[in-house]
Each structure stands twice: as structure tokens, then as C-alpha cells.
Symmetry: C3
Subunit: 354 residues, 3 copies
């Protein structure tokens, strides 16, 4: 697939400065791009790469200073425009309507004739799979589960019974939707066998709304009795843990290895940095931001940015973490002050006497 | 399935206050429950929800204040009783004895005729699967492995060769039992090819005892030469890492994303909070508790509660983490003290002179 | 398989002190070894176990003090020699050349006749699998992917389209190679539907070089446009997250649950401790070491050892973490100093007056 530069610019509402007649074959980073490829520049850090790049054309923002002879597409949001151009060259995979012979579809399942089920995938009793959805080898959709239209479920995704996915949902390999939440009642007698944990049956479901993407090997637990929810357009990275009864709003960003404990609520547009941990039964309000590796044990206000463990306001945390590193000097200074005060006290006693 | 309230109360040793003749169809949270459902109240935080709930009946503890007209079941351990009632409505899945045509059972494997092996699951050479155990699609039981009775292995669980599961074990989707432990000997010569890591063969096994539950995508590594062990009744949440040669006692609770490094021992009833990390070759004594996200690099005494990184006694850590946040004031105060001492010193020098 | 002790010693360049004619059947830890087994001693902590061990022979280093009557193999690097002896008793699994009837091989895939593909594994269109490589049940190799020679891919490993593995690569169960990187452009208009995240297509690949081992359920994301790379001989533990465009050098060690964010570069021989997090776009130079649970947000110099969050030089971090625990005393001392200074000031004012 090739595109003319003028067409690409038009598709993203940009303006060509230079040779609009160029034919392009793909996208690449500034360092790697060939004269047949489009690249992208917005981070000043990469100015040298921008100047040296062999790219046929580069997407830049309107104010950008451009070397003579360099063909660019000027557009307001360069990275977004570049993403759209990349999508033109690399459209998402399309379903080839077929149920492969090696797939296992329960006779009571309803797989849309426009869906594609690859070999070694299975769809359980009473489950539904929508039009143009692709199930890769090793995907298992449990009984009475529902997968919407235009979804991509990569290899070894598991959707347990009764869980529901909206449309245009992308699940990377190994995602687990609807494992039992971690809920046990402590039983001090254990029916005569000693103290132990009694499993609370987890009979709710997971609801994944439209346009959600979930990263490899991430787990979203089913609710105890109602639903764990991932709202429209939210993106989860790899190896994330979402506990039972968690309610995640729309268009949130949750980076790899984050854990969100049970019953916590994230309103819309919340961002959680990598490896952050959020305790249970909290509310993170709209647009709250949690820095990577933080441990959040209280609610976070709208647009508040928090860091650290326990997480506090990001500005306060930054000040404190600089000061912590100056503790050796502070201890030293305090020792010196003690000596000086003692000297003064001695002298003062002496004067008293005198 | 429906139950009369009197019967439910009898099953959990509780007492009905109100209409014992009610017929109930299920359980739900206070907010969601209908007049045909049982709910549960013990956390004072939810008193308003308790008063407003439409639930037909609510399980409460003996001392609880109950609004007039509200039917309740009074019982000593309300949450445990509610869990037992929920289990009556939602009994665990039962095996439908069958080896599905799409399953792959090695001719030398011994699958009990009362077990259920679903399509696309496999059982390797010489492996055993006990009565009433269910293997979901995509489960792979390796050669010479042994799975006990009444187990549930959800989709895409992997049991590697020779590992052993007891009875009533529940493995959520994607659990890996018996991957090689992470053991390498540094080889400074690398047989002439330069320094590199030489793999130490991991030839031990994993032993998972009775009544253990393990969460989605959790990994328990096989021992180097003997066994990694998960004791009776212990519950592991999702995405947990258990290193080789780790020995976990009975009835422990290990929350999501915890990592336990090699050869560490947890005695019975140990609790590890989410994302905690435990270094190798340590002993955590009976009933030890590690707070979420802590990093433990020394042994923990029986019933001791530790927090932080490095983890210290929880009370000390709480005091310290408050003080850390007051460091800006402490630095400020120390600067002021310096000024004041300097002023005193100047004055004192002046007086000396005088 | 049994070996004479003299032969074992010869194979590792060691010297028998004692009975070289012993026949041995395997390896074990000091505590568990029988008179037919070889064991190993180098950590002084285990001297009592060494003395008490029933092992037929023990591998020790040249300077070691050995009790009378104990047969040993003396060799320069005892642990490495023991690892090599263990490998003699437990050679890695060997491919039994066969494509199992229950495997799904695309007609255009090229599987070497010396490879073994087990039931319920699949190889996609145009993919290649090299000689003596083993694909366990549930492995899915995507279209145009390439797996080298002598590899072992355990159950439920997923290799997505076009990714490439070198020779002698070992992937533990559930590894995901080539999931989409986590890349989204924020779209403030969302084509009239409100602010949302626009997926940047991830069209690069992952390149895993020779002799790499990757732990269970670890994820290595494909690059945005070029390659994510894992260099020769590098070892990754379980549940690790490697972001898109990361470039990892040769012979690195990355312990369980580490996360490395996008575009970061690790030079050769870097070590990352368990649960450490490395921010994106950083460079960790040759031989850098990051302690467990640290959070690295700046580059790390060659052979530098860093700890903490944010990570600083390990020595500084150790001093600081001791001082943090003494904060209650420091606050107390500062309060006392204030009182003493105030007393001196009062006295001094009094003297002035006098």
C-alpha cells in the first residue's frame, strides 16, 4: 500500500510544505526512515535526528523550525496526525469470516457469520460472538459470555462465563477476564478442623465497554455479586491487576503492572503510572494522576497528582524526596548545633558563676 | 434454586427475626438487592444502605441495631454466614464426567472416569487426574503430573511435568505451576566465548496441597532439586510470583502481584499485602503480616506486622512516614536554630571581650 | 543414568579427594542428598549441613576445609561445576521429531523435520520453526514469525506475527512475545465525540537473540516501528514487563516482576532486582545494577549500583534509609535544642538588661 503525500496531509488536515507529489510506503522513526517513508518530529531532544533524517517527509507542528529542502506536513497535533497516517499504512487486522475446522464451537453458541474463529479457539454454550470479531488460536470464550463486534482477541485470551465485551475491544494475548475475585471469609472454627478461609463465591461478572484495549496477561476479576466495569475507551497495559467490584470510568490510562484493589472507583480520564498500587474501596476523581510505583491509600481529588508511598501531593513528595537525600547533612548539622549549644550553656553557667 | 429464609438461617446456625417464610432466590449487595434476595450488613460505614436496602432479608451480627419491619438473620459471624448462604445459591461447578472429543489425553495418562476434560485440554504421558476434577479448555497437564480430586483448573492453566496438586484445588485461568526456577551460575569464561550465565537445571517439582486456590496468571516455580510447596488452604491472588524452593505453610493469604524470592519460608497463617516483595532465604513466622508494597529483607517474627521499604515494624513505619512529610519544616527549623545559635555566639563573644 | 565420580570430576576439570570409584545417580541439596548423590557446598552458612550431609560426594572450592572421610570434588568455581554436573544427570528435553496429529500447522509454514510440535500447538502462515525445537501444547506461533533451532517453547507461549527468536531460546509457559506496545496519541476532539486516546499502530517486531531464557507469563512488547530486542544470553524471570522499543544487551539478568518502560536501553551485563521499575527513554550502562523494588528515573552509569525510589547510589541510599528510621529521635533532639536555645536567649536578654 502506498500513499501520495498530498493525500496523507489531506487525510489529517495538514499542509504540505515541499513536494506533495512524493509517494510513500510506510512510517518509521527519524533514525530509521528511508526516503519512501514518513516520520515525525515534536520532541526538541531529537532535533539532530530530525535534521539528519533521510525520511521523505516529516510530520511537524506549525511553529516548528524546518531546515531548507526538508519536506514536511504541518499539522496542529503532529503526534496524533502521525498516528492516523500510520494507521492508513497499517490498518488493523480484518476478520476473514470463517470458523476454522480446528475450532470448538458449542452447538448453542451464536457466532456471527462475519466473525473469524481460528483453530484451537473455543466458544462455550450460549456464548455470543459479534460481526467481524477475530478469535485467535487458544482463545476461550466461556458459557453465556458475550463478545461484541469488531473485537480482536489475541491468542490465549480467556473470557470466563457470562462476562461481556462491547465493540472494538482489543485484548492482547493472555488476558484473563472474569477470574474469581479474591474473597474469603475467615472461619475461626473451620467446622472443627481449625481456622481457615472460606471461599465467598464470586458470582458477578466483568463488563468491558466499547473501544477498550487490555494488555498482555492482564487480569480483570469478576465481581462478587454484580459487575466489575472497564469504561469506554479505557486502555490497560500489560500485567495489570484489577480486583473484583472495581469500577473504572471512561478513557483512563493504566500503565503496566498496576494493581487496583477491590471496590475502588476510578472516574473518567484517570491515569495510573506503572507499578502503582491503589488500595480498595477508594475513589479517584476525574482526571486524577498517580505517579509510577506510588501506593495510594486515600481518595484522590479531581486532577490531583500524587506520588510516593503513601502517596501525597506530587509537589510535596518531590520536595520531601530531595530532603530525604540530605538527611546525612541534617543529622550532622544537628550534632554540631548540640555541641555549640552545649558550649554556650557551659559559658553561660561560667558567667553566672562569675 | 430458591430457599426459605428459615432454612437458610438453620443452615448457618442463625436466628430469623421477622418473616421466616420468605422465599429467596439469591444474594446481593445492600444497594442492589431485591425483595427476593438476601444481603449482608456488618460495616457501620454502610448503615444508610442497610436502612434503605430493598433486600428481603439481611444477615447481621447479634448486637446490631435493626430498623423496625426489617427481616434479618442474626448470627455470630455474619460475613462467614453470608458466604455460606451465597454458596448454597451458587454451588461450585460440578464435573460432568466426560473426556471431550477435542481433548488430547496421552494413552498412558490415567484420567478418573468421574473427571471432566473439556475440548482443547491435554493430559500428558503418565499423568493422573482425580475424580470429579474439571479441566477447562486450554489446560495442559504435563507428563507424570498428578491432579487430585474435586479440583477446578480453569482455561489455560499449565501444570508442568511431575508437579502435584492435592484435592479441592482451584486454579484460576493462566496459572503456571512448575516453570523452571530462575537459577544460573555465572561462568566467567563461558568456554572461551566470554562471561555468561549457565543454566542450573531445575529438576525439582511443585507440591500444591489440599484446598489451595491460586489466582489468574500466578506463577509457582519448580524447585531446583526438591519441592516448592504451597500448604493446605493457602490462597494466592492474581499475578503472584513464587520462586523456586519456597515453602509456604497452611492457610496463608497472599494478595495480588506479591513476589516471594527463592528458598524463603512462610509458616502458617502468614498474610502478604498486595505488591509486597520478600527477599530470598528468609523465614516469616506463624501469623506474620506484611503490609502492601513493602519490601522485606529480614525475617519476620510470629504475628509481627511490618511495612515499608526496607520493611520495619508497622508502628515505627507509620510514625516515620508522618515525620518524613514534615521534613521541610524540620530543615527550616534547623536553619533558624543555626541563626539563633550564631547570634548567641556573637553576643557571647562580644560579652567575653567586654 | 549414573556416572562415576572420577568421570564427573574430569568433566568439570575438578579433582577427586576420596573415592573416585563411587557411582552416583543424581544431585541434591546437602540436607536431602543420599549416599548415591552429589551435593555442593560453598556458603559458610551451611557448614553444619555440609558436615552432617549423607551425600556420596560434595563439590567444594580448593581452599575449603573438609572433614576427614568426606569425599569431595575440588574445583575452582564450585557452583558452576555443580550446575554442569546437574546438567549431565538432567539434560534438557530433546525433540522427538514429529508433528502431532492434534497440532495445527498452516500449509505455508515451514517446520523443520527435526522439530517437535505437540498436540494443540499451532504455527501460522509463513512461519518458520527450526531443527530440534520443541513446541509444547498450547504454543501459538503467529504468521511470518521465526523460531530458531534447539528452542523450547513451553505450553501457552504466544509468539505474535513476524517476531523472531534465535537459537537455544527457552520460553517458560505463558510468555507473550510481540503484544502491541502501549502507545496512544491523545485526541482532544475525538472526531466530535470528546477527548479520547487514539491507538498508534504497533507495527514493529521483537527480536530475541540466541541463548535467551524468559520466565513464565513475562511479556515483551513489539516495537512501534522497528524492533524491541533481547540480547544474546540474557535471562528474564517470571512476570516481567518489557515495553516497546526497549533494547536489552547481552547477558543481562532481570529478576521477577521488573518493569522496563518504552525505549529504554540496557547495555550488556545489567542486573535488575525483583520488582524494580525503570522509566522510559533511559540508558543503563554496561554492568549497572538496580536493587530490588527500586524506581529508576535517570540513567545509570557503568557498574553503578542504585537503590530506592527514586533510585540513588546504593551506599547513599543505605545511609539514608538508616537515618529515616532515626527521624523520631532527630525531631525530638531538635525540639530539645529549641528549648535550650530559648533558655539561652532568655538568659542572654536578662544579662543584657543587667
Amino acid at each position: 500500500m502506498t500513499f501520495g503525500l498530498a493525500e496523507l496531509a489531506a487525510r489529517v488536515g495538514g499542509e504540505v510544505v515541499g513536494d506533495g507529489g512524493l509517494r510513500l510506503t510506510g512510517v518509521a522513526a527519524l533514525d530509521d526512515a528511508t526516503p519512501e517513508q514518513v516520520s515525525f518530529f515534536s520532541n526538541r531532544k531529537y532535533r539532530v535526528a530530525f535534521q539528519a533524517s533521510r525520511a521523505g517527509a516529516v510530520v511537524v507542528e506549525p511553529g516548528e523550525d524546518v531546515p531548507a529542502g526538508r519536506t514536511v506536513v504541518r499539522v496542529a497535533n503532529a503526534y496524533l496526525a502521525f498516528a492516523k497516517i500510520a494507521t492508513l499504512f497499517h490498518p488493523p487486522p480484518e476478520a476473514l469470516p470463517e470458523i476454522a475446522p480446528g475450532a470448538e464451537i458449542h452447538p448453542t453458541a451464536r457466532v456471527h457469520p462475519g466473525a473469524q474463529v481460528m483453530p484451537l479457539a473455543s466458544v462455550g454454550a450460549g456464548a455470543e460472538v459479534g460481526a467481524r470479531t477475530i478469535l485467535f488460536p487458544g482463545v476461550h470464550v466461556g458459557p453465556e459470555a458475550r463478545v461484541g463486534e469488531d473485537c480482536i482477541l489475541y491468542s490465549n485470551v480467556v473470557i470466563r462465563e457470562r462476562c461481556r465485551l462491547g465493540n472494538r475491544v482489543i485484548l492482547q494475548p493472555g488476558v484473563v477476564i472474569g477470574a474469581d475475585g479474591f474473597g474469603f471469609a475467615f472461619d475461626p472454627e473451620g467446622e472443627g478442623q481449625g481456622p481457615r478461609h472460606y471461599k465467598f463465591p464470586q458470582v458477578g461478572i466483568v463488563v468491558v465497554e466499547d473501544d477498550v484495549e487490555i494488555g498482555a496477561n492482564t487480569c480483570v476479576d469478576r465481581a462478587t455479586t454484580d459487575s466489575t466495569r472497564i469504561g469506554d475507551g479505557t486502555k490497560l497495559d500489560n500485567l495489570v491487576q484489577i480486583g473484583h467490584n472495581v469500577n473504572i470510568g471512561r478513557h483512563c490510562i493504566i500503565v503496566a503492572q498496576v494493581g487496583v484493589a477491590g471496590s475502588t472507583e476510578l472516574e473518567d480520564y484517570v491515569t495510573l503510572g506503572g507499578q502503582a498500587g491503589i488500595a480498595g474501596h477508594l475513589r479517584l476523581e476525574k482526571g486524577a494522576v498517580v505517579a509510577a510505583q506510588s501506593g495510594v491509600s486515600r481518595g484522590v481529588k479531581s486532577k490531583e497528582v500524587v506520588s510516593g508511598y503513601p502517596a501525597i501531593a506530587h509537589g510535596a513528595w518531590k520536595r520531601v524526596s530531595v530532603l530525604v537525600q540530605r538527611l546525612p547533612q541534617l543529622f550532622q548539622k544537628t550534632r554540631e548545633l548540640e555541641d555549640r549549644v552545649e558550649a554556650l550553656e557551659r559559658q553561660s553557667a561560667h558567667e553566672e558563676v562569675r
